[in-house]
């Protein structure tokens, strides 16, 4: 155990970036610490110094019209209860409200959720369907933004350089006549990692007949959550009827792989994914129809 690890509590971004510059790969960032403490105690992550960034000023909050900015240190509970996020990026709020209990959500941050790159991380699918970008800052090179898909390399692996800190997520505005949702398959009503999760953003054409664009992200069906681009292409331009849904579901399944673990069997995951997807489509269609009416 890293019993003798240094622990530095930081209060400003500049200070954090400075420390990251000097410690580099020897440092581990700790935001809420809900995942980091476990990673360190179990030896999964090794570091000489922990940089505690939970209390850095100005890195939390949701702002901006058009493209929105979600600070990396925004807590999941704040996200879940933010009326603006709920109305503009519903799936993100829904996902945040399902990570662990309130005790975890009170301190767990969006940045920590994404940067862990856990296979079941809840913010990933809803951010993926928004084509969200992650903003990374370093002392040496300043800021850069990266599509989330490029940022996530593999389970527990990201494109973050050792001296970088994630500072925000940028979410482009949703198109007209669109809705998003997050369908999370879980056994109990709370305190579960998702068995399968589907985030969906559906946009309809002017007549509300055909799909103008759909984005689908799935977790629990591979090493990391992924965008089901083949399925997206199949649905675009068509009415979201049974046949289109079935074809898209088959395309999702074609690039999925399923595991059996103590939470659920591979065969259940496989059986439930198309149903979760179809359910997500009907939620979004209904929402768009209700708004249009």
């Amino acid at each position: 155990m890293s019993a003798d690890m240094d622990f530095l509590s930081l209060t400003s971004l500049a200070e954090a970036l400075e420390k990251l510059r000097s410690y580099g790969a020897d440092a581990v960032l700790v935001a809420g610490g809900t995942a980091a403490r476990y990673q360190l105690v179990s030896g999964m992550v090794k570091a000489k110094v922990a940089l505690h960034i939970e209390r850095i000023d100005g890195a939390a909050g949701f702002s901006g019209n058009g493209t929105a900015r979600l600070g990396a240190l925004t807590t999941l509970r704040d996200i879940a209860e933010d009326a603006d996020i709920l109305s503009r990026f519903r799936a993100v709020a829904m996902a945040a409200g399902k990570c662990g209990g309130w005790q975890t959500q009170s301190i767990a941050t969006a940045g920590g959720n994404v940067c862990t790159a856990a296979p079941t991380a809840d913010l990933l699918p809803p951010l993926l369907v928004q084509d969200a970008e992650i903003e990374l800052q370093s002392r040496a090179r300043g800021g850069r933004t990266l599509g989330l898909g490029e940022f996530l390399l593999d389970a527990f692996k990201t494109a973050r350089a050792p001296d970088e800190m994630a500072t925000a997520f940028l979410l482009p505005a949703q198109p007209a006549r669109s809705a998003d949702t997050y369908v999370r398959i879980q056994r109990r009503g709370a305190m579960e990692r998702p068995i399968i999760a589907v985030a969906l953003r559906l946009a309809m054409d002017e007549g509300l007949k055909n799909v103008s664009e759909v984005r689908i992200a799935v977790s629990g069906a591979g090493a990391l959550p992924f965008r089901a681009t083949e399925a997206e292409a199949l649905m675009a331009g068509n009415a979201p009827g049974k046949e289109a849904i079935r074809a898209a579901a088959d395309a999702i399944l074609a690039r999925s792989s399923f595991r059996t673990d103590p939470r659920a069997s591979a065969s259940y995951r496989k059986a439930v994914l198309p149903r979760a997807f179809a359910h997500a489509v009907s939620i979004c269609s209904d929402a768009i129809a209700a708004n249009g009416a």
Binding site: A3, G33, R37, H52, G101, W102, G189, A190
Partner: protein, 159 residues
């Protein structure tokens, strides 16, 4: 001996300085060093909520919280929750029979204080959601939820 580091935080309204090892949890510090054993240990996994404390007013599982991250912050444990709102919650739970073995009770009271500070009038759904990180194996939750609803209604009536 492992190296320790002094941490100073406000615990139940009083400034305390304690020695902490590496990644030692806030729960262990509270229970073993400050002798505040009202914060219960049920799992050390973040699954049961028995160890819930308020950190700057927000409910947190102390078993998973790095004690050194509490430097300079305000911690409230069950022993310190004697404000009017907490007293109403405690009285309601006692009167509703929402306590059996009582091992989950401190964590639940702390969680509910956190909830009612943030949401003055939660409905049953929100109460149950907020409590979902607190496992009670004895009561089936009904009398606890009834107690909170009573507090909410009582407050509404008083206003």
């Amino acid at each position: 001996m492992t190296e320790t580091h002094p941490v100073t935080a406000t615990v139940n309204g009083r400034e305390e300085t304690f020695e902490v090892e590496g990644l030692e949890s806030l729960m262990d510090v509270l229970r073993d060093k400050l002798h505040l054993s009202g914060t219960k240990e049920g799992c050390r996994e973040g699954e049961c909520g028995a160890c819930t404390v308020l950190l700057d007013g927000k409910p947190v599982n102390s078993c998973g919280y790095i004690a050194r991250a509490a430097e300079g912050r305000e911690i409230e444990t069950i022993e310190g929750l004697n404000d009017a709102l907490s007293m109403r919650i405690k009285t309601a739970i006692v009167e509703a029979g929402g306590i059996q073995c009582g091992y989950c009770t401190p964590g639940i009271v702390v969680m509910l204080s956190g909830l009612l500070r943030r949401h003055a009038a939660p409905d049953e759904r929100l109460i149950r959601q907020a409590l979902s990180g607190n496992i009670c194996r004895c009561t089936g939750y009904a009398q606890i939820v009834d107690a909170v609803l009573g507090v909410v209604q009582g407050k509404a009536a008083a206003e």
